[in-house]
Symmetry: C3
């Protein structure tokens, strides 16, 4: 696993050197957090969701993050245009199917995206990924449902199968993060329960994946591992710094910790194993 | 009043145990704050404002918060669909008429909402509630206008009458919060002037009311009192912790204080009286 | 320069006394930051972007800030309506052409705005202002492109010419801020590199300009200088307070520092010279 850690850690410097422009078509709830976390890791965020400019903006970007957290007719059009532009130009696409399973609009839009766009990395919570894998899920809004909790072994199976089916990297984030490209599967045990007490940590994971993929488009598995290690370790650092200060301080210090993340910290604190 | 305090305080645990899903159709300016405050008190937020999914999302939620802070044609449709869905399913509806009085669009939309949807709790500042009660008001954007300031006695009268007329709980928040269901009226003297120095504290009050109503749909008066005590006391704690640090720190510590609020703190610090 | 400093500093008290209502038609990514910074300096923010209410809201406002950070068909209509209303009523208009040069939509919308609305203050980064001045620029999303970096002398020339051409104040913000009304040109050397590590500092500059212009509509040059001194000095204070804490703490303390800015601090720390 030292090899995987080292490769993920190296990508941190690669992001800082290349400053990838990450085009987000995302929700208005966590857009500010996503922009700030992209800057914190060393990328440059751009959020532009008018269909008229989706192709132009994706065209100058290093990666595209599609997040359906507050989708509507207009932004769905933009997602499709941007996704196809990215595919044509060989720009990596990250898909975050926020709340899929909770409404027909999200279900249909997710199908449209997965069917019409070649996704490089799909990241969601267990309810969302379960739903997309065709299993019954009981999505409760945008948070993972307790009814959907799986054993690690089950999650590994779902991630592997879905990754193979969609020919992309699939990441299920939660207490343990599972990342698979269908052949290799890695589990990350970093993180902290506080990460689910503030909004947007899932969305921010997807933004980080976007930044890392923008810096290393040919290595979506390493990029995803690097992103989720970054968020998990930053969560641990923020939690230990905030102690019992509360959610607001935790959020501030999470951004602090991502902005200070470096190769050494990542290698030293990474807890991962191959499944 | 000890009875009221105890009932309100008990609801804190009820929120944390039931983790109510609070559907917000709200503005993009404070949506992040509203999501975070809902999580801080123990609820689960979902912001979804496409008309195509409004019914689906409200249908799986424990309460609905309608906030017209940045309304537009699309979101007004969603508010109506969601509101009617909530009414049919017996899901409590909180209405925050942000800036009503400041534009014809807000005036007409508020009428449409109040006429077409059974509201459980209406919360606004004195300018907004004055306007809805049919009195002349001089709304200045989204903040209460000084011209509209009333004596507590006048506010109590307006709250009572409007509550009786709309058959709902009416809350006027400000230096003193007035809460009435038309029969009982309670005044809360907790809070701090700093609360009006940051954006979104009104919106966050409505989100907290949504969370408490989601946990106790049959007790809108207690839920509203619990929510406004929480915000007022959190404002006091944040203000005393930040001292002269400034607005950014106050905001962070306000979120901290809501996330740490417990039954004891609420009972010990609550300053309320029946009017 | 002491005269300029003193005039700028005096405006701080003028903002706090007049509490200007600043109508923003802006992006959803930084809207919360813009609202909070407007409150921090002593103004009152209102963000309303439905075309149906644009005229009503501008009509009761002290200034209008048009920011195309996440423009779309609906908000462009609103910008035009609000801008024309402001012009008719003599309300100052600040224009922030976020990302112009990065998409045809932004280019065309910016032309439409500049051609159809009398702008009082135009603020952008060097890529954006270069583009609007008719020079080739290589806008990289919403951040200034390194390729577009100019010597101070070149920036001064562009600002002066564009200010004369548009008959408005032009501000190019960056490591050195250049502000010109075509006749007088002032350079500000306050600020800190951390300001480009968080999202929205450009947008917040425009909001501050809106607040100062709202308090002193007849003095757009002084208002712009006051706003950019405020942000630059606040950046220095926040940076020295945060030391190596990271981006989240810097952001919090930037809001702190703006909320605590006063006449003395501004005069004492202002570093400016006439070009």
């Amino acid at each position: 696993m030292n090899d995987i850690k080292q490769k993920a850690a190296n990508l941190i410097n690669q992001v800082k050197e290349s400053v990838p422009l990450v085009h987000h078509i995302t929700n208005y709830i966590t857009a500010n957090d996503c922009a700030n976390i992209t800057l914190a890791i060393g990328g440059s965020p751009v959020m532009a969701d008018a269909p008229e400019e989706a192709a132009d903006i994706t065209g100058i970007s290093s990666s595209l993050v599609i997040n359906i957290g507050s989708l509507n007719e207009r932004t769905i059009s933009s997602m499709m245009v941007a996704g196809k532009t990215a595919n044509q130009a060989g720009i990596p696409v990250v898909f975050d199917p926020v709340g899929v399973g909770a409404s027909q609009l999200r279900n249909e839009s997710s199908s449209q995206i997965v069917d019409g766009i070649k996704i490089d990395v799909l990241r969601g919570n267990v309810s969302e990924i379960r739903y997309l894998s065709g299993k019954k899920s009981q999505t409760k809004g945008v948070d993972a449902s307790e009814h959907d909790m799986l054993s690690s072994a089950e999650s590994v199976t779902i991630a592997k199968l879905l990754a193979a089916q969609l020919e992309c990297v699939v990441a299920i984030t939660g207490a343990v993060d599972i990342i698979s490209d269908g052949e290799r599967t890695v589990c990350i045990e970093n993180g902290n329960a506080m990460l689910s007490n503030i909004t947007g940590t899932g969305c921010m994971c997807s933004s980080l994946i976007g930044a890392f993929c923008g810096a290393a488009p040919e290595k979506p598995l390493d990029a995803t591992i690097a992103a989720l290690l970054t968020m998990g370790i930053a969560g641990e650092i923020a939690s230990s710094r905030t102690q019992k200060l509360g959610n607001g301080s935790f959020r501030t210090m999470l951004h602090d910790a991502v902005s200070l993340m470096d190769t050494d910290t990542l290698i030293r604190r990474a807890k991962l194993y191959e499944a």
